[in-house]
């Protein structure tokens, strides 16, 4: 699988390939190549082949087909898929009944012609930034399999980076789309809080839970998002008229040189020298931690009372600690959230787009899962969200995009940026992302399943 979603759909629509050929090739690729990465938890072969046959019949009959016709996609293992148990990356839920129907956004993608082919690995219950899962294994970064893919939607990001799937779905509570997208060098979107329906999604922290797509380029990401959103994007803004600023202060600390250079180049291209600071970012991140821990702890408390040994020990201990938080700091964190949102809205009165790094640097090694913050080595699992968590608090839409590599991409690991817009302004993110991709400033070659760079 090396073609983009848009090209694949065109090929199938115009009869250059059948959907069945595409799905058979995709399933074969996943079966033969995923052993190196550990992205896939379950293949949906029977269902996918049945769907491909129906699509080929529709095309043969001259019936209309959707914009993603025949495009294979995978879902993080917390999206309901009809007929199978939603695991949320755990074995704790294994006795739950199978889902009676697909999650709402999966139904929308299927209506657009896309075909689900696999469920994908994640941190247990989405609580982590590493996709180190004691039940289903560690997902390895296709750019360097000795390194973490990031998480919690690591299987989704890595499957795209490896060239095994053109589109995948993930969830983002504190950065679980943006962090793995950055570390794997693919595109991801955390949409505006509340924009996409969460029906059929296993929750984590309801205050922050969002879902979104991953893809290998901005066009595919937009196609997937529009299908998930159930409507085409709005009017495209004039990129030259967008008021762009970079986030300073907290978001300038501990950065890898490639990130500083990449953001400098983006700002230069957009002719902007403006830097803005957000107030109390450390406290905003702390509020996100507290709300997440308490809501996750509350969600799992009934099971923690009786099934604690079945959890991944690291997840279990964090959830238990969260369940013990008293009410006052949780309420204070929610008040701080409102306060922080007002400040961000104030920034957007003078600005249309903010640019910030997604992580401090490239993917950490699996055997040394730490990152450097303030000169100290700290746990990657807990701290890779240093730049994503504070922004989570506000709920604004955020595009995660890979900085384009230099002349020798093989030698460089991916680095990613966050591009933030006002609520509901996803279209501005796609327009700007596409312009920067066209200018050669964003975008990282997706690996061919056989190892060659493509896309």
């Amino acid at each position: 699988m090396t073609l983009s979603a848009a090209t694949l759909a065109d090929n199938i629509r115009f009869g250059l390939r059948t959907a069945r050929e595409v799905i058979e090739t995709t399933l074969h690729t996943l079966e033969t190549h995923d052993q190196a990465y550990g992205c896939v938890t379950r293949l949906l072969a029977d269902r996918a082949l049945r769907a491909a046959g129906l699509i080929d019949a529709r095309i043969a009959n001259g019936e209309p087909v959707g914009p993603l016709v025949g495009v294979p996609f995978g879902v993080k293992d917390l999206f309901d898929m009809e007929g199978i148990v939603t695991t949320a990356g755990s074995t704790v839920l294994k006795k739950n009944p199978p889902a009676v129907r697909d999650a709402a956004v999966v139904r929308r993608l299927v209506a657009a012609g896309a075909i689900p082919v696999a469920t994908l690995n994640m941190d247990e219950f989405a609580y982590g930034f590493a996709t180190e899962n004691s039940h289903y294994g560690t997902t390895r970064n296709p750019r360097d399999t000795e390194r973490l893919a990031g998480g919690s939607s690591g299987g989704s990001a890595a499957a795209v980076a490896a060239g095994m799937l053109p589109v995948t779905l993930g969830s983002d509570t504190n950065g679980s789309i943006r962090v793995p997208a950055a570390l794997c060098g693919v595109w991801g979107l955390r949409p505006t809080q509340g924009r996409l329906p969460l029906e059929g999604i296993y929750p984590f922290a309801a205050s922050f839970d969002t879902i979104g797509p991953f893809a290998g380029n901005s066009t595919d990401l937009k196609l997937a998002f529009e299908a998930m959103d159930g409507k085409a994007g709005g009017e495209e803004p004039d990129v030259g008229a967008l008021r762009v600023a970079r986030l300073g202060g907290w978001f300038e600390r501990d950065l890898a040189p490639g990130l500083i250079d990449g953001i400098d180049r983006i700002m230069g291209f957009l002719s902007s020298t403006k830097t803005v600071g957000l107030p109390e970012v450390a406290r905003a991140r702390a509020a996100a931690f507290i709300i997440t821990a308490s809501e996750g702890g509350n969600l799992h408390l009934p099971r923690l009372r009786h099934q604690a040994p079945e959890y991944d020990p690291a997840t279990r201990d964090r959830l238990m600690a969260g369940a013990l938080l008293p009410a006052s700091p949780i309420i204070q964190a929610h008040r701080l959230r409102n306060w922080f949102r007002e400040h961000l809205h104030e920034v957007f009165r003078e600005t249309d787009i903010l640019i910030a790094p997604a992580t401090v640097g490239p993917a950490p090694r699996i055997d040394q899962p730490t990152i450097t913050v303030g000169g100290e080595a700290v746990s990657a699992r807990a701290n890779l969200g240093l730049f994503t968590q504070p922004l989570t608090l506000a709920g604004f839409p955020i595009l995660a995009a890979p900085i384009a590599p230099g002349a020798e991409p093989v030698a460089e690991l991916p680095l990613g940026v966050q591009i933030i817009a006002a609520p509901g302004q996803e279209q501005a993110l796609f327009t700007l992302g596409a312009a920067l991709e066209h200018a050669g400033l964003l975008g990282y070659p997706v690996r061919g399943a056989a190892g060659q760079g493509e896309n």
């Binding site: 406290r283 507290i290 959230r337 306060w339």
Partner: protein, 73 residues
């Protein structure tokens, strides 16, 4: 071989036991029993969260700043 316990060791042990008692009290309030083998990890995470609680409590907010329960970005 018997070791020699210092005053520091005794203080550390007392602090851990006190923390364990605190955690047990908190856990009882939500009808949760923390198994012994989970206790070190839970205590570590509670200590981490205490740091974050201190940060959010350290910001004085206006009285009319409401919690974001019905949140719209």
């Amino acid at each position: 071989m018997a070791g020699i316990r210092s005053d520091d060791d005794d203080k550390e042990r007392a602090a851990v036991l006190e923390m364990a008692r605190d955690v047990a009290v908190l856990a009882r309030q939500v009808d949760l029993v923390i198994p012994d083998d989970c206790l070190p990890g839970v205590i570590f995470n509670i200590e981490t969260l205490r740091g974050y609680v201190a940060l959010v409590d350290g910001l004085v907010l206006p009285d009319d700043c409401e919690p974001a329960f019905g949140y719209v970005p």
